[in-house]
Structure formats: C-alpha cells, structure tokens
C-alpha cells in the first residue's frame, strides 16, 4: 500500500533535527534506515505529518574508540555495526545479535540505533545492549543526557527517548568476556520467538560473573538476574543447565500466534543454557 502524504525534511545536524521535530509537532517522526518505519507506513498504521531524515548526520554515523568504551552512532547500519572491527573486538555480543537481525538487505539499510529506539520486544539488539551495560546519549531541546540501559527500555515500543528528542549514539564498556546470542525462530528472516544474549566471565573453567539479556520474554528486553546470580561458580554443563532453569523467573511472556507463554518460558530455559554454554565454552 502507499503511505499517507507527509512532508520530508533531510537534516545534517542534531540541532536541525531537534528544530524540525519541534516545528513538526507531535506527528513528526524520525527516519533513518526506515526498515521498521516504512512497513508501518505502508500499512498506514502510522500517519506522520513530517519525516525528519537523520540518516545523514555525521555525528550519528560510525564507531569510535573512547578508551574504556566504544561509541556507536545511532544511524550506523546493522551491516556497518556487525562488521566493525571495534565492535567485533570489544562488544562481540552486539555483532552476534546484529548479525541475526532480519536479512542482509534489511541490515544494509536498517540502523542499530534505530532498532534500539524502536524497542520492539522481539528485536534482537535490545537484549544485547542490556547484557553489555550500554548507555545512551539522547539529545533534546534542553540539551543532552545519558541514560543507562536499565532505564532506557520502558515498555512496548517505548524508550526513554521523548517525542521531541533523538537518540544520538550509544556506548558500550569494552567487554572481552565470552559471548553468544542464541535466537529461536521457525523461519528465515523471522523475529525471535525467544532470544538470549549472554556474556560470561570465565576464569580457570569457573564462571565468575554473567550478564544475560532476554528477547521477547516481556514488553521490553529484560535481564535474567536470577540466572546471573545462580551462574556464579558454575563450572559444568549441569551447573549451567540448573542455573538456566530460572530463566523465566520474573518474566512476562506473551501468547501470540507464534507461541504460547508457557512455551516461551520453556524456550527461555533451554536457550539460556545453550547461550551460556556457548559463551563460556563449557
């Protein structure tokens, strides 16, 4: 279907973007890659008055080394993120999760920052951002602020980014732990029925610390904190499997045409064990 009529404004700076959002009012929307927004527009599930294209803002493109962390411009494509040497070296989990998003053509166009700001509960990158303790730089009319991952994802398709604000970049503390993203879906290029993002610090064959993010087990990506606590000291496959039995604790999985909630809970336990074992090499 053809989208409703809208105005289109291409901006080249964050200040221009914020001004365009302000003058566009509440029906203004940000577009960059547009791989989530254009399907919505074609279905006429959104009727924006103006699209503010932020895909050409230099500050929002590319990955830089900030010493203890790396910073990823929000308009960097999935393809750019997953193939970036800094990401592969210091935030491998993000590269692993990004590589499972949709398909190659979508990843050439879609942006990782856009997927984070879109906050689809079935999206792959929010769980990785949670497990990696990412922080988010948000710009708005009153300046810039930084929000930690635990405070960023608020609800279904809702983040800390306000309607008059824009996600500029996100930063990830360098992490050399073992990592793995395990995604369960039944067909090619499908959304995750359940996904598990795991980073694990293993010393001498024993897990010292683990951080685990779950995809599609609640209205937002969530941390599996009970599993994280239970994994400390684990040194065998049996230990990991036992800890992973807590993967659905405190989650709010939904039932839909792909899976019922209790099946999602089962998958979370099984896939958490797989992801942790792969990340830990145990």
């Amino acid at each position: 279907m053809i989208p409703v009529e809208f105005e289109y404004v291409k901006v080249t700076t964050i200040d221009q973007a914020i001004a365009a959002l302000k003058s566009g009012g509440e029906d203004a929307k940000i577009i960059s890659g547009g791989q989530s927004l254009l399907p919505v527009l074609r279905l006429r599930m959104a009727e924006p008055s103006v699209l503010v294209d932020c895909g050409g803002i230099d500050e929002m493109l590319g990955v830089r080394d900030d010493g203890g962390s790396i910073t990823i411009g929000a308009a960097t494509t999935h393809h750019g993120v997953m193939n970036n040497p800094l990401v592969q070296k210091h935030a491998l989990l993000l590269a692993q999760a990004t590589a499972t998003v949709a398909d190659p053509a979508i990843r050439h166009r879609g942006t990782t920052g856009g997927a984070l700001a879109h906050a689809d509960p079935a999206g792959d990158v929010p769980a990785a951002a949670l497990a990696l303790n990412a922080s988010f730089v948000i710009a708005g009319p009153s300046g810039r602020r930084t929000v930690d991952a635990k405070d960023f994802f608020l609800d279904y398709f809702t983040t800390a980014v306000g309607p008059d604000e824009i996600l500029v970049s996100f930063s990830i503390p360098k992490c050399d732990w073992g990592s793995h993203y395990s995604k369960f879906s039944r067909t090619a290029q499908a959304w995750a029925i359940v996904g598990v993002a795991a980073v694990v610090n293993v010393k001498g064959g024993v897990i010292k610390e683990a951080r685990i993010g779950l995809t599609n087990m609640a209205p937002t990506a969530v941390r599996a904190s009970t599993v994280e606590a239970a994994l400390v000291g684990a040194s065998s496959a049996a230990d990991i499997t036992a800890a992973a039995m807590h993967a659905a604790d405190g989650t709010r999985a939904t039932s839909d045409l792909h899976a019922k909630a209790d099946y999602r809970e089962h998958l979370a336990r099984v896939i958490t064990a797989r992801a942790v074992r792969a990340a830990a090499g145990i």
Partner: protein, 162 residues
Amino acid sequence: MAHITVTVDGTSYNGEVEPRKLLVHWLREDIGRVGTVVGCDTSNCGACTVLLNGRSVKSCSVLAVQADGCEVTTIQGLSDGNEWHPVQTAFKECHGLQCGYCTPGMVMAAVDLLSENPTPSEREIREGLEGNLCRCTGYHNIVKSVSYAADLMSAGPTKGAK
C-alpha cells in the same frame, strides 16, 4: 514535491517526486525500470531488491527521496548490453528459476553476496539469500546457480553470450 537526482544503471535521472513515493514505484512508473518487480510489499520477499550505492536493499522499503544523490543498479543494468553478468549466465545454465518472478531480486541479492564473499559455502549462500523468497520453492537450483556464478567469476572475465 521533492526534486531528486538519482543515477540508475549508469544514467542520471532528475525528477519531482512525492516524499511518500517508494523507490520501487519511482523506478517502475517514473523511469520505466519494470525489470524490478513488486512482490509482497511487506519487506519480506526481496523480489524488488536493487543495489543502492553498491549494496542490496529492498526498494519497497526505501523512499525515492532517500535515494537522492545515490547510485542505483537494477537487474536491467547488470548486463553490459552484449554479455550477461556471470550471475545471469549461471541462473540460465543451472535453471535457477521456475516462474521467474523472484529472479530479478534473487540475482541482485546474489550479486551483492558474491561481492562480499566471492567463494561462499552452500550454507553461506542460503543465509545470504534468506531475504529473498521463491514461491515456486526452487531453492536448490538457485543455490547451485550462485555457486556456479562464484566459479565463473573466480575463473576470470569470461561471460556467457547474451
């Protein structure tokens, strides 16, 4: 209306477009590149795949205004006019099509895949084409075609006669 300038298959085109116009509709309706087809219109099937600045994209999921200043290659720009592109030759030789509707997108996705990975394994071919659906389910011969195209391209510039 917005003014855009886009280079398509080596020729520069100027035009006025509504911002809501999808790239695939502009290619087909405004400049006659009907080789690129609309399949699902939901970002799923990949039939409308073209190269945008050298990388595969689904042209139903890009606004024409977003292609302003860019270079687009469609299925109609692959051949040099006398000889097929090796991927086209390979699809012909290996019968990598049945009804043919997915073929323009399948070929463009394969061209992109081989530009990044000139010697893909069968698994890498299948994963590289996961965004392209063949409703005839003729995937085996499509995979064979891409594998054969990789052989042709690594063997040198020899191409099949058109």
